[in-house]
Symmetry: D2
Subunit: 345 residues, 4 copies
């Protein structure tokens, strides 16, 4: 059994990690840290888990952490991970970081949208943890920058097609919609029930920090500078993310060809489901799961491809993909701890 | 007092008409028809209105209708209105029809997406009731084809810019999101609470019947055949529609210029609110109102304009605009019966 | 036109007052105060009202307030009103206070559940503003303690029956359910969308501060010390409150008798709707209205009466009743500004 | 591996059975029947399970069923099970029936609220499957009448106290609140999103068919005829049931004593969680689980006990308890297939 720890266990991504890891057959969940709830039993912070998790939240302490865990998940706000991850890696720990701190390979891009980067040398070592795309590199990694929820929903449908030069990179638009849990557990008017309920709105239009993250990866995959137009929206539901992508096809390709390309690219990968013609992705169908459902349609008149992806923002968009990364890094079954039958509703 | 009737009063659009008309200072609501609830008091079908509406639902009968009402709203499913409207118009009644039957000027387009049209001669007489755009023609009209909810949310932001030749017509994409009441009051799995709640999904991707309706109007306004890519989505909320539009700018125009163009086009029109920089349209802000809020953003790298509009699908997207059309046709204040202060939440 | 001001205009009750008052035919809304948003336009805090309210929030200042308004609504947290109301009343202003500060006639009961009372002499002057019950006293009042939302939903069905000695006072249980807006606009985990959505729970079981408020009134009405068992619950919806009351009947009375008693007690009162047999109160039916719907059933085996009441907690449970109180105090139509036709959904 | 079948697999309880059974370590899910969806893949009816369930829905045929399964779950509407269960039992199958058909031991009570009973002789054989209460009898049973969701939430907190003679049976009131999935997957205005959203209401007040079911069990446990007052309500959420019970204590007992009694009665039973003082049951905490959380409070003035229970109506209230019954009947671990870590939100 591998001993694992969750650093920052009481946000929604952290708590979801606790849920998944405590049911994982190959690991022992051994350590939870939380600044806010230090000293309190974890299950008193999340009473749904009462009696299921026998751990007390602790303050972060590098020595203690290294002593008690072999593998670490970092679910802290941007900026803090780059301060603590270097020591953990230096002391031989493997790490999946869920913040943006180790997602960029070009520090200047990170710095343009976040803050000065204080662990630049580690960026080279870090692998972008989009599991179904960078599988082989992930298997060798000691440090993973776990993708953001929006980039996961955008990149999974796009990369196979960009690699195949099937799309005009300048034409890509991603219109994303996220459940409220994506805004985290901190309280604010945005997440106040009465302000989110019966409300649908866009935010950070063409200005969200996941935009440069996607652009960097898409540029890499397209082999040339690529910038997509990205507009996130907030949906009155707890979990789920749906992204509708518009992109102009290059050459004479039909919808079946696109679907085949996606199906063959993701062949054998349990968590990607390419929807047949009579089914469209729906956040309800992936709620609580690590699935990414992808649908394909075409507006023939403009040769405009329409891709729709659905994920659970807290699972495939955060904690689930993080555990999937661990599974790859440690040579476990890729689906270990993650492959439950979904709820019907 | 003008005597008005609502034909098909017990669907959501019909009931919303009843709500608005019964509080309208210039009209007397005199007649409600409903096939399903014939013989029942209207307020037993919608108990929120108990004691407020003293009418009993009746079967449709042209003589009775013409006897008791001077102005008629038709809130019936497509296909039925074209059977009954001709007689009403011939007998001198003014009519606002909320179905698609009188929205198209080209019958062949209607027939391609609906069914054979049996009242083609009336199409010429009918005016497309987008109030803030076709105001003068509406004032002269005897028959209005009341716009669909999606077209209203798409055309209001686009037409001022298309008329000014500011946009590339081939580049337009409309990504719309509607509350569940848009699906009507008929029961189905789609509208079942447990299938809609915590669910966000696209439907009728690039195949919705409002697409040709928008295309016809946009072609007219652009002065050349124009087809937009349109994808509707379903949001787990009762009321509200938000549309995010993407279009490439022609020439060197900035965001302020676009906002100014919209502001001046809609200057003096009470129901259009162009949002300043620090505010984005939100369905919650227009809930229960006849407002259309419009926001403007730009993705500079691609000169791609992003327009966001928010309406209440049952009010500005249906019953409210229908009453606004009546106000224009009968020379009332445009805002009569429609200009209540919105709820804070 | 009477000039009115709202002290504490940016909480939900305050904003609802602004909504109602700005559409009230007899008053001019002239002054809004808000500590948190002082200096900001009100409609930037509640963008639904953009363009409808042309006032800027100000800090509270007694001179300014007395200068600019003749009638004041206080929508501040408990404890602050008793500091500012005495001066307003002394300077000849009429006041409706929405906090608990002037609801109790016995200061010691207030002090047992809140804090020391610093304006005890005003308690005598203050009238408990349950409009349909204390109408005559309200008409003479200069200061109203506006009832809490829970007490409104509990007292309206009970008082007519207690006055008639139809119920055993010791047997009364009130099981109440409130929408989230009842918790106010302050942010907290309780009102976080993800913690309230798909959640139904009781809170402050037999310990809520509205319990002694109800007990004082019921004791008064019953003519002997009366304490009811009261359990509030939180419902995943924005607005609405439903209360289910259980009480044992005294003597041989049937359901019709109870319904008749309620109907005759509230005869001629526009906002009370006694539901017939085939209808049950539903928060959706009173959403956005000042109605209180009341239903009556009987569990014959135990002679146990079951009363169900539904109100909108922000309207009849707060701002609506406050305006109704003003209407009574100033001799306006009781329904002025409050009698809109409800939404069908 | 035991081969199991689900008769009536495409309602919500049936689908939830499929979810649980397909992840159960001791059984092989081998057969699904559905009249409505016969011939269709199960995962096309519930697309969340796409690729996870490789079965096609079939028409019911007793021979086929007996051939292919050793253990059967019946999730059909009342009245149908009593026609098909006798043959299954006669042919040696073990059966858990989720309808009311085998819940009553007194056929006349069933007949008073349902219809004539056509398999009365089986009623004696059938055991009421309230797992934590009738454990030993369940272990010996060949036919289980699986409890209704409301009775489960009412009986689990009450029975330990009634057996201990701690409560006055005539004083018991159960005020229950259920998520919409309790109304099943059939479409109706009641389950229409727009009629259920933002709606909270009571229904079948003191007239619900689960009332006699509870009364029969409580009479048995109390040793004398016992009838409780029962009012169910509908909550705008998908899953979850919360019941608030009021009952007068007999003798001088305090809250700790009650809590201890419950704790000792359910000692060692994994699915019952007695909440400590600082926690109240919340449907969100049991969502998707087989837990029943129970909280205890006291209104001292009236010696009135307040019990609150929370379950997931589709799991502990239906499919989960059904599988738990199977586990007991077949000698598996009681928690097999049912003991996942709950979601944090």
């Amino acid at each position: 059994m591998i001993r694992v720890g969750v650093i920052g266990a009481t946000g929604y991504s952290g708590a979801e990690l606790v849920r998944i890891l405590s049911g994982h057959p190959e690991v022992e969940l051994n350590l939870l840290t939380s600044r806010q709830y230090s000293g309190r039993r974890f299950d008193s912070v999340f009473p749904s888990m009462a009696g299921m998790i026998d751990l007390v939240c602790e303050d972060f302490d590098a020595d203690k952490v290294c002593d008690r865990a072999d593998f670490l998940f970092i679910a802290l706000p941007h900026k803090i991970p780059m301060k603590i991850v270097p020591e953990l890696v230096n002391r031989g720990k493997k790490v999946v970081d869920l913040s943006a701190d180790f997602r960029f390979s070009d520090a200047s891009k990170y710095e343009a949208f976040y803050q000065p980067h204080t662990a630049k040398d580690l960026l080279e070592k870090a692998v972008y943890g989009l599991c179904e795309v960078y599988t082989e590199r992930i298997k060798q990694a000691v440090l993973i920058g776990n993708p953001g929820c929006y980039p996961t929903s955008v990149l999974l449908p796009l990369i196979p097609l960009l690699r195949g030069n099937l799309l005009d990179g300048d034409s890509i638009i991603a219109d994303s919609k996220s459940g409220v849990s994506g805004a985290g557990r901190s309280t604010s008017l945005t997440t106040h029930f009465c302000e989110a309920n019966e409300s649908f709105k866009a935010y950070k239009i063409a200005g969200h920090r996941h935009n440069p993250e996607m652009d960097e990866l898409l540029s890499l995959e397209a082999g040339k500078p690529t910038h997509i137009t990205f507009v996130p929206h907030l949906v009155p539901m707890t979990r789920g993310m749906l992204t509708t992508i518009y992109a102009t096809l290059v050459g004479n390709i039909d919808m079946e060809c696109i679907r085949d390309r996606l199906a063959s690219f993701y062949s054998g990968r349990s968590f990607i489901r390419i929807c047949p013609d009579d089914r469209v992705p729906d956040t309800l169908h992936v709620r609580g799961t690590n699935f990414c459902d992808i649908g394909v349609r075409l507006d023939k008149a403009h040769k405009r491809l329409i891709l729709v992806s659905a994920i659970d923002n807290l699972v495939k968009g955060a904690a689930g993909q993080a555990v999937q990364n661990m599974n790859l890094m440690l040579g476990f079954e890729e689906t270990a701890g993650l492959f439950h039958v979904p709820f019907p509703v």
